[in-house]
Subunit: 422 residues, 2 copies
């Protein structure tokens, strides 16, 4: 597991270990079934997208308490020697049934079932929720953003504002799943075999003698990949200078540079000005990219308002999921030993027993049905997949989105997809 | 740097490297000054708290492009051999002036100045912003939460919902800075030398023959540290059973267990019922803890409404900063070589040149003044500190909060603290 080589097993809540010690002492280690589901959709979201399994696979494979971990736990004086010996040997032997990555799903249906001896299954809770939660958020948001972009390219610029490096990898991988063109995050690009991309910063323009010089030097260095940032001083002037440099560069070198980036101001007006100016001045090949606090709502609105944008760079609002930075994802015991278990806290009921999820399909998906486990062939919960190629996941997600009714995919106020209990 | 051993230098946006290559080719590597500041406060926030320097120190120390990184960059075909040779040798030699951790600050004043050769200073941008942004968010939110708790203890339960493991460490360290009692995150507790804590999960109650048995077994295992979760089935009955177990356990073993945890329902009503029931039934020693989607607003309101709570566990809303998951933190070139540089994009002006920040103090802090750099002894921007003990940072933050007027510290609609330009 990248980045967690140190102590994967210690990334857990203390109570998982204190509860486990009681189970150990009482020899309560029968087979337990835990179910993962999400309680509700964020405002304006119509669906979720499954993600995170590749990281779970890596976590389970590398899970172990190191000698240093055991020494630390010993020092807390909360744990007995026999229990710590047990932990030091623990390799979780669990079985998982789940939705494959890229599958669309809805609240209050199981998306993953983990079965195994009670102690292992309990200790894995905290970090499995951590992995799934943000991976699902980002995959769902990436899908929403692709829908809003309506065929324009989208790239991930989120590294600088995301909540840490692992978050940046979860974001970049979700972007890849949803068919984004690239990421600015070089580490993510390397790890995920995803295209790295970027333009230039305002500081680059500032560090040069003049804006025009900075554009010319960048064009000379990157040719057909060069994208010029035009809003450092005055966007209209920047657009004109970009056109001038592009025209001269094609004349001198025979190379058409890629385009410009708008990062502030009236994007609708500026993009229309730039499109017409480029077309009228013999540099119609220049593409127009937009960035600057964009998200699926703004992209949708810009396109509705007639912005002429070929590609969007999304950063902050995507990379932290500004409007839904967390979801109510939970991991609930539904069966222990021979009996189903349930919880009756107000508004937080959990139905006992293992479940099957089936999906009724017409021209579009019509509804999901959650029933007691029957081992059906058409159960959406499948055995934990071995590593799937990214292309398989991308194709699955694209197919899923084509099966969801437009009303469920709406960027604002989507229709509610029915999930029934049988 | 924990968790980033692999490739610290590759955690950057591609454009930092493509711009750097142009600087390299053009021999533009004079001394550059970049300034970090935050554009505005989130709604309802009156101040920020500086944090993240320990992680920056670790990043700078371990910064290097590995052989694997260089191979990867070579494979992108964007970089020349001489530039990659240069990168493979690059150790950033930069100087930093900044606010020490735990210092209160406000929008549009410099909080960190990084000076060094243009190429190094540029490449560090992305990850320094990543570190500072979420560290500052969490430190500020932890301070707000402590203010709201008004002396009650607060513990960090955020691991399962935060956006990745490094985020969890930034959260836990911020909690420690603001004087929280403990964290549930065992890895963070080990790394930060912070107290680990926890209670029990609903699954623990469910896995036992009965709620009462689960309480008794937990009390037997953890004695004076045992906290019983009372809302799995019926909170009123759970409270009564907890009292019964606590009374019997004191009689049998002479040990007073710690208390109960309320995790759902009407916390004001249930906490008052529990307090009276415990006091009337000879178990007045039991403390009452509350959790369940709490944040500084809810804690403030619960206490205003008369909830009788000894301690709060905060998770999701703290660990992702639900209401402000990102802030507009930026890294701007203010001087290159011998000249100040500026940027004039609409609404995004940056004043050129190095700055000094001073604070006018009466009984409380009265205002901050940002002026051109003068090398004053009372400049709030100090040379990058060597590792400070956590206790120093905790004391600094506590002292800062005592110097802020209550109106600036208000949980809702705080007064605006003046920052002037001179």
């Amino acid at each position: 597991m990248w980045l967690l080589k140190d102590s994967p097993a210690l990334f857990t809540d203390l109570y998982e270990l204190t509860m486990a010690q009681v189970y150990f002492k009482r020899r309560m280690n029968d087979r337990a079934y835990f179910e993962v589901f999400v309680r509700k959709l964020p405002d304006n979201w119509g669906f979720f997208v499954m993600a995170g399994l590749w990281e779970i696979a890596s976590y389970l494979q590398q899970f172990q308490f190191t000698e240093q971990d055991i020494d630390y736990l010993h020092g807390t004086k909360m744990f007995s020697g026999d229990f710590l010996d047990y932990l030091s040997q623990l390799k979780p032997t669990v079985e998982i049934r789940c939705l494959p990555e890229g599958t669309a799903f809805f609240p209050n249906e199981p998306i993953l079932e983990l079965a195994g001896p009670l102690i292992s299954a309990q200790i894995l809770e905290s970090y499995i929720l951590n992995i799934l939660g943000f991976s699902i958020i980002e995959a769902s948001l990436a899908a929403r953003t692709s829908i809003a972009a309506n065929g324009a390219s989208v790239v991930d610029f989120g590294l600088r504002r995301c909540q840490g490096p692992v978050a940046s990898l979860r974001s970049a991988r979700a972007a890849q799943m949803a068919g984004f063109g690239a990421t600015s995050n070089v580490f993510a690009a390397r790890v995920l075999d995803f295209a790295p991309t970027g333009t230039m910063a305002h500081s680059f323009v500032q560090a040069h003698e003049s804006e025009e010089t900075s554009f010319r030097k960048f064009a000379e260095a990157y040719g057909e990949n060069a994208i010029l940032l035009v809003d450092t001083y005055d966007s209209i002037e920047g657009i004109k200078k970009a056109a001038k440099v592009a025209k001269q560069f094609r004349k001198d070198e025979g190379i058409e540079i890629k385009g410009i980036r708008l990062d502030s101001g009236d994007i609708v007006g500026l993009s229309n000005f730039a499109r017409k100016y480029f077309d009228d001045n013999g540099v119609g090949f220049l593409k127009i990219f937009a960035s600057g606090d964009l998200d699926e709502f703004k992209i949708h609105d810009l396109l509705q308002q007639g912005a002429q944008i070929d590609g969007f760079g999304i950063g902050t609002r995507y990379s932290v999921s500004q409007f839904a930075p967390a979801i109510g994802i939970v991991y609930k015991l539904v069966r222990y030993g021979q009996k189903g278990v349930l919880k009756r806290s107000p508004e937080k009921q959990v139905r006992p027993g293992r479940k099957t999820v089936t999906r009724v399909k017409g021209k579009y998906y019509e509804k999901d049905v959650v029933s007691q486990f029957q081992g059906n062939a058409d159960d959406l919960l499948r055995p934990f997949p071995s590593a799937e190629p990214m292309q398989t996941i991308q194709q699955r997600l694209a197919a899923e989105l084509s099966c969801l009714d437009d009303s469920v995919k709406a960027i604002r106020n989507p229709a509610k997809y029915p999930v029934e209990s049988a």
